[in-house]
């Protein structure tokens, strides 16, 4: 998994790619969130467009991030969830937890 960070209107957009799974990746993701929140960022968009697959420990990474951000009064939303990953969200009943968007503009506007 690779993570690239961008900013738009004070929102941090994390472009993920590769395989979203636990292990070392979890640490990298938490580290980035922590650093950004330390800088005062509260709103996050996680772009899953280029993620091939997610496993249950990868879901754990997203949930942990979601919980951390929500507790701090921020929001973490998803962008470009592929059909394959969407199906995993559905069977794990997490599609009710995460707000997700297919359009970046719309995702950005949703924080306004």
């Amino acid at each position: 998994m690779k993570i690239k960070e961008r900013r738009r209107d004070g929102i941090a957009i994390l472009d993920m790619s590769g395989k979203l799974m636990g292990g070392p990746d979890a640490e990298a993701f938490n580290e980035i969130l922590r650093t950004l929140m330390h800088e005062g960022v509260r709103n996050f968009i996680v772009n899953l467009e280029r993620v091939n697959w997610v496993n249950s420990t990868g879901l754990g990474i997203l949930i942990s991030g979601y919980t951390t951000v929500t507790r701090a009064g921020g929001e973490l939303k998803l962008l470009n969830v592929t059909e394959r990953i969407e199906n995993v969200f559905i069977v794990s009943k997490l599609s009710t937890v995460f707000r997700s968007f297919d359009d970046e503009e719309e995702a950005v506007r949703s924080f306004a």
Binding site: K19, M21, N55, S56, Y66, N87, V88
Partner: protein, 137 residues
């Protein structure tokens, strides 16, 4: 006429994509919806995650072995590890929508048509997943 493909991986999460890539490649020659292969792939990734983590305790010197039996309308995948196993009959799904772990077996159950655990005579622990290749769930 089934064909069997066998795969052995070190117990390192970095290799979880390998069985998935093999299944997608096999699926590309089968006349079945790609979604079914992706679901099976996701279930097999969970099985291998557990075999590596809970079975082989992420000891990279221990292998996870995967057998893929491709039939005309069904793929059966078994994943073997060298660990102590667990009692699937008394397994209870974890609770809490925002829990960070405890979703692997649920995903395996949802994404396969049959899920069994047993122990081989050579002592290895095995999970077997079967997926029908027709869209009739």
């Amino acid at each position: 006429m089934n064909s069997r493909i066998e795969l052995k991986l070190p117990s390192q999460m970095a290799f979880l994509g390998v069985p998935d890539a093999v299944l997608l490649e096999l699926g590309s020659d089968l006349d079945c919806p790609r979604q079914l292969i992706e679901e099976l792939g996701t279930a097999v990734i969970e099985a291998c995650t557990n075999a590596m983590e809970h079975g082989n305790k992420l000891d990279a010197s221990l292998q996870v072995e995967i057998h893929i039996d491709v039939g005309a309308d069904r793929i059966v995948v078994s994943v073997m590890d060298q660990g102590a196993g667990f009692d699937y009959r008394n397994w209870q799904p974890a609770e809490g929508l925002l829990r960070e772990r405890g979703r692997g077996i649920l995903i395996m159950r949802e994404f396969s048509d049959q899920l069994d655990y047993d122990r081989l005579s050579d002592g290895r622990f095995r999970v077997t997943l079967a997926k029908n290749l027709t869209n009739s769930r």
